[in-house]
């Protein structure tokens, strides 16, 4: 085994992985459905290939196939996958297992779910390396500490002694990169490694990942749905859709002149823009709110937010900044310790129980995960029909009629009436959630990260719909998000939150124009741009300041 660890013995530029006409099928709905329909892929040593596409495009399946791995319920039906002379389609399980964890490694999207909570980080980092006999445990651990240092983890000497829950999400993602790097593989597959992270954390993780991949001249497949991110990482970008290749080009070329319309549409949200209109008619006002969970730590400190009628106010900030907690205070799920919420000039009772049906009706909420926001056992008709029945006393034909009207408003047709949530796509589900909120005929809708789980094109559709509904019905949105592109696209006013405090509130133009307070500056500069040099420039700039 040990002579297998001829790390990067080959020359840069030599072909490492070659996939020809790969076809993969998945078992669902009682039959085999094609997922990958004949894709070619060539990866040379030391090269980073970005795989990009919407969810369901087959990018993860293809990335995993590059390791010779198929998820349960999938099978490779054709083509060849040659990794350094070995055809992984015909290779036995034993042969493949000798490669996995030593010469080919994988970095998953959710680091938190990929670590065993019962073992120390460093033991997990070196586990595969030691079990493959590449290095002795003590040598591998010394090496892991060096890797931690080059990934800019704090306290590289001791951080490995911690357990997964004792480090942050961004740190965990870097530890996982160290784990993948521990055996000095020839190929690493990164599967959406930064999707679950905040923009500010994402920058750090991207920088350290890029640094280490360059340092060891490792080839990598980088899977993501964010074109701006892949632009920073990849040498070549391959766009996938419906299991087929749309186009492949060097990163710079792809960004400057994408050939296919589809590729252009991948960053369409960034093209949306709304003209801000000032308004003085305050519908919802949050005054001096302090809040805490249980008797624990205070999460909101003297929060003041004014929401003008018929406008969109965006609350931005990284996770843990108190955005969602603010929403919980407004809806009454979390009564504040002090301060109050005023709605239409009247103070709202702090607790959910104290509020009248009418007060509840006027403030509706849309959630981030449409999957969990709808009861999986109820049909669309039941989901949208319930608020109609509950608030407006509709039943029978009248209710059905109104549900169909609402479906039309969200640009879906009557064929959706009998569907269950599991029978719809992510964007359709989110539309149903919007219809459920609309059914109540609310004045304010709180949107909690409603587009962050969706693909770019679908996001654009949802945002357009929300703006159209606002124009038509004068609904006020309180839009919670960490995505600056979305904020730019839809808001009139912006509230920046950090550590449970409001850093800034003002009109969009005011907030997004320099000079910025320190935190706003950090937040805005961390949003990836469609410029392959963006990350490099940012690193230089921040390096100079430090």
């Amino acid at each position: 085994m040990s002579n297998d660890s001829n790390q990067n013995a080959g020359e840069t530029g030599e072909i490492l992985l070659e996939m020809r006409d790969v076809r993969i099928e998945g078992w669902s709905d009682e039959k085999w459905n094609p997922i990958i329909k004949g894709v070619d892929l060539t990866l040379r040593r030391g090269e980073i290939l970005g795989l990009i596409g919407e969810s369901g495009a087959g990018k993860s399946t293809l990335g995993l196939a590059g390791m010779g791995f198929t998820q349960p319920g999938c099978r490779i039906t054709g083509g060849s996958i040659v990794f350094d002379g070995v055809d992984l389609v015909t290779a036995t399980e034993t042969e493949k297992r000798a490669l996995w964890g030593s010469r080919v490694t994988y970095v998953a999207q959710s680091a938190a779910a990929s670590f065993n909570p019962a073992h120390r980080l460093i033991d997990q980092t070196v586990e595969a390396t030691v079990s493959h006999g590449i290095q002795s445990e003590s040598l591998a651990k010394d090496d892991a500490r060096i890797l931690y240092a080059s990934l800019s983890l704090p306290d590289p000497e001791t951080i490995g002694e911690r357990y997964p829950h004792q480090v942050s999400g961004g740190q965990l993602q870097r530890v996982m990169t160290a784990m993948a790097m521990s055996s000095r593989p020839d190929l690493i597959v990164f599967d959406e490694p930064t999707t679950a992270l905040d923009v500010t954390t994402q920058v750090e993780v991207l920088l350290s990942m890029r640094k280490i991949v360059e340092e060891f001249n490792t080839a990598a497949i980088y899977i993501t749905h964010d074109l701006a991110v892949v632009a920073q990482m990849a040498d070549t970008i391959k766009v996938l859709r419906y299991g087929q290749e749309v186009e492949e080009a060097p990163a710079r070329e792809m960004l400057e002149s994408p050939k296919e319309d589809y590729t252009k549409s991948l960053w369409s949200v960034r093209a949306l823009h709304k003209e801000t209109q000032p308004s003085d008619d305050i519908v919802l006002s949050i005054d001096g709110v302090d809040a805490a969970y249980g008797r624990g730590l205070k999460v909101l400190h003297n929060v003041n937010i004014q929401v003008p009628r018929g406008r969109t106010v965006s609350i931005v900030g990284e996770s843990g900044s108190g955005k969602s907690t603010t929403a919980r205070v407004i809806t009454g799920l979390l009564p504040p310790m002090s301060g109050q919420v005023t709605f239409n000039g009247e103070a709202l009772p702090p607790e959910l129980k104290g509020r009248s049906k009418d007060q509840l009706r006027r403030i509706q909420m849309i959630y981030q995960m449409a999957d969990t926001a709808m009861n999986p056992r109820q049909t669309v008709g039941e989901i949208i029909g319930r608020p109609l029945e509950f608030y407006h006393g509709l039943s029978g034909k009248a209710k059905e009629q109104r549900v169909l009207e609402l479906l039309e408003m969200i640009e879906l047709d009557e064929s959706f009436y009998d569907r269950l949530p599991s029978e719809m796509s992510g964007g359709q589900k989110q539309r149903i959630c919007i219809a459920r909120a609309l059914a109540a005929e609310p004045e304010v809708i709180i949107c909690d990260e409603v587009t962050s789980a969706l693909d770019q094109i679908v996001q654009e559709g949802i945002l357009k719909l929300l703006m159209k509904l606002q124009e038509k019905h004068g609904i006020t949105y309180l839009f919670i998000t960490h995505d600056i592109a979305t904020v730019e696209a839809i808001s009139d006013e912006i509230v920046v939150m950090y550590m449970g405090e409001v850093v800034e509130q003002g009109s969009k133009d005011q907030i997004l124009t320099a000079p910025f307070p320190e935190y706003t500056e950090l937040l805005l500069s961390s949003v990836p741009e469609m410029d392959p040099d963006w990350l490099t420039k940012l690193a230089e700039k921040r390096g100079q300041e430090a």
């Binding site: 926001a373 009861n375 608030y391 599991s422």
Partner: protein, 303 residues
């Protein structure tokens, strides 16, 4: 390549394309059921049939003791007669009605009590939850058969006290499982959405949470039913269960136990005590087969 300008939400590809009614889905699932599950379902169907139509199926009455005691097999009495001259075959048939029927009612009752309180506890997650959970812990700490025997001697061995006592003791287990699966559902956004809408406790319990925890509960129902059934049989065997002349399999095993020693002289007479025991065993096995299949279906291992 699809033109992106013609994008419309309705044409987005969802995971499932074919739309099926609940009946069609059930039919497809049944078609794929393994042999063991079919065996279980057929056996259960037979038991239900016998239990429902016992009055018409049994050749003689349940308490009809007008025949000679200890008559051998055949000769007008398929499985002979018992110690006071009652037809064994007829009593086996009535036993299905009594034992299975009472076990069924008891299980349903225990699910109402345990399931209902479990749901309340999972939604509340405050002091009501603490109170109920600790009370259940106390009840579960006492060996249930001994506890049941004790309560039966206090309240008397009528069919209804039997049902109530076993149901209450068994509901502790149902409470545990309901609460543990329901807490996972109770934190879902759709439950929060229902509460934000202003829905009452009843709606949240029945319409939002219950449909989503049905699979484990149905599986548990099958298992609980077996345990209740065995408990009743054990209690009857010990003489504290259903009282004569009501026919029930547990007490029949006890009554005939003495006949086992005659097996050396008359094999058939020796087999008699095994008949009610066999009835109990067969139903337990059948129910477990079906439950196993159901658990496999709902555990997410399919496809």
């Amino acid at each position: 390549m699809t033109d992106t300008n013609s994008y419309s939400a309705a044409t987005e590809v969802a995971s499932t394309i074919t739309r099926r009614t609940r009946w069609e889905r059930a039919r497809i699932t049944l078609k794929k059921a393994p042999l063991t599950a079919w065996f279980g379902m057929i056996v259960i169907a037979c038991y239900v049939f016998v239990a429902v139509f016992a009055q018409w199926l049994a050749p003689y009455g349940e308490a009809d003791s007008s025949f000679a005691a200890y008559a051998p097999w055949g000769d007008g009495h398929v499985f002979g007669t018992d110690q006071i001259g009652r037809d064994v075959f007829s009593r086996l048939i009535y036993g299905a009605q009594n034992t299975v029927g009472i076990a069924f009612i008891t299980t349903i009752l225990s699910f109402f009590i345990g399931g209902g309180l479990g749901l309340v506890a999972s939604i509340d997650q405050g002091w009501i939850d603490q109170l109920l959970s600790r009370f259940v812990d106390i009840l579960m700490a006492i060996p249930s058969l001994i506890f049941a025997l004790m309560l039966l001697t206090v309240f008397g061995s009528s069919a209804w006290s039997l049902i109530l006592i076993i149901a209450v003791l068994d509901s502790t287990r149902v409470f545990r499982i309901t609460r543990s699966v329901a807490v996972n559902v109770a934190v879902m956004d759709y439950v929060e959405a229902a509460r934000l809408r202003g829905e009452g406790l009843g709606w949240v319990m029945r319409r939002e949470i219950l449909p989503n925890i049905m699979p484990p509960l149905v599986a548990e129902f099958g298992l609980r039913f077996c345990f209740v059934f065995l408990t009743i049989a054990s209690l009857s065997f010990l003489g504290a269960g259903l009282q004569p002349p009501t026919a029930d399999w547990g007490s029949m095993v006890r009554d005939f136990a003495g006949l086992l020693q005659f097996a050396a002289f008359d094999l058939k007479a020796g087999l008699t005590p095994l008949l009610p025991a066999g009835c109990i065993a067969l139903l337990t096995v059948a129910v477990n087969y079906v439950v196993d299949w159901f658990l496999h279906l709902t555990s997410g291992l399919k496809d």
